[in-house]
Amino acid sequence: MSFVSRKSKNKTKVGTTSVSGQAQRLAQFGPPLLLEGEDAAACDEFLARIRAAVDPVDIIDDMFIADVVSLEWEVLRWRRLKLNLIRTRGLKALESFLAKKLDCDLYYDLYSEHFAADLTKILQDNLPQDEADPAQTLACRCAQAEADAVDKVNEILRSIRRNMGFEGYALDMNQILHRAQAHKAEELVQEYVRGEPDAVTLVHELLSGAGVSMDALVADELQNRDYLDCIERIDRLTTIAENRRNASLREIDRRRVVLGQALRRGVQEIEDAEFKVIQTTPSKRKDAA
């Protein structure tokens, strides 16, 4: 998870005056509490923009600003975590959906290369060194479903399983095919995320063919109790941070009202002292008239 500062065109102008005094004051509230992968520069920029917008008059204002920044950062952290969690779970669900869908002759061409590569590796790892080279040829022929090659590979796999015992359980043609499908599904998801047109079209085709959508896959995932608990926990943390941030904002508002009233009183007192009430004296011209 990472936070990257986005350069906005409509930024609040950041004041540069008395930076050392401000820094000294802010140092009393400690450095920003960032977690692994979070962008310290973005957090500093955020703090500077808030300070410029609020224009603190004393250390109490600074205290609430530090609070607002830290809590808003936390809100962003939890929201991003929730979003990433839902997104990765959704993509994982898509991956298993695709792996299941690929288990069909129609899409064999899509993962035949992965199958050949996996098979080659298995044969090379388990056959004597002098037979390693024909392993690739044999795997490619087997991937093209040449009957004699398939038989030979099956025979080799059987003998490997016999020698390996329990550990060799995965060395079965079907298992290797499933792994190749899973591998291809993973690759397709990555291409889909990158927005590669072929992958996007294929994924949409497969989804609409099965009458499901990405949203439906994500919703299916939500039926998992642990996952739902996790989302609820993150929502709770977000709400707590939001409420505390809003309370700090209200404190700033309240202080501004008090400050405003005090300033008004002060201005009034100064004006009262400066200007005396002029006594109205009867005009001579009027008297003359």
């Binding site: 998870m1 004051r25 009393q28 509230f29 400690g30 509490l33 977690l35 692994e36 250390i59 109490i60 205290m63 830290s70 975590l81 990433n84 969690l85 990765t88 642990d226 608990d229 996790c230 926990r233 993150i234 943390l237 707590i240 505390r244 309370a247 404190e251 008090v258």
Partner: protein, 163 residues
């Protein structure tokens, strides 16, 4: 009315069932309050106490009267307490993010699991947001406790800070 013999027996029984008995148990119980030290008042720590005084002076200003100074000290104390709680929570999360399996292993060992490394091998390490979500669920109790301390400090600060 309870008879004298019954009271005597109750007292004897109570003495026999109070607190941990083993040396290790007693040592562990003795450290309960010091686990994250958040239950201790800020002023019990000399370094924090000094920070409270500095912040209080800054809040009260140079010509403050005794009452203002006292209020400023209360605000400063709540603020430093708040910072202490937030640091503790941050440390808890960042330590777990740096090494999440350490805690999993510890919890498995606590539960006397037969073979923790094998169990860990069967459950692949969560990555990215799953890692963070797993930590949140593992540390839920601790985080809840810290949230209570944070709420307490915030209430104290806002009560003192009100006009």
């Amino acid at each position: 009315m309870t008879s004298k013999s019954k009271i005597k027996a109750n007292r004897a029984n109570a003495r026999a069932s109070t607190g941990p008995r083993t040396v290790q148990g007693r040592a562990r119980a003795a450290r309960n309050a010091l686990r994250h030290t958040l239950s201790l008042p800020v002023c019990s720590n000399p370094a924090l106490s000094e920070e409270v005084e500095t912040l209080a002076r800054e809040i009260a200003g140079p010509d403050a009267n005794a009452e203002t100074q006292d209020l400023a000290r209360q605000v400063a104390e709540a603020q430093i307490d708040l910072r202490r709680v937030r640091y503790a929570r941050h440390k808890l999360l960042s330590d777990a993010l740096a090494d999440p399996w350490q805690e999993v292993l510890r919890s498995l060992l606590r539960k006397n699991a037969p073979n923790p490394p094998v169990l860990m091998a069967l459950n692949p390490t969560p990555q990215g947001p799953h890692k963070f979500a797993t930590i949140l669920s593992q540390q839920a109790k601790q985080l809840l406790a810290m949230d209570r301390y944070e709420r307490r400090a915030l209430t104290k600060r806002s009560r003192t800070n009100s006009p």
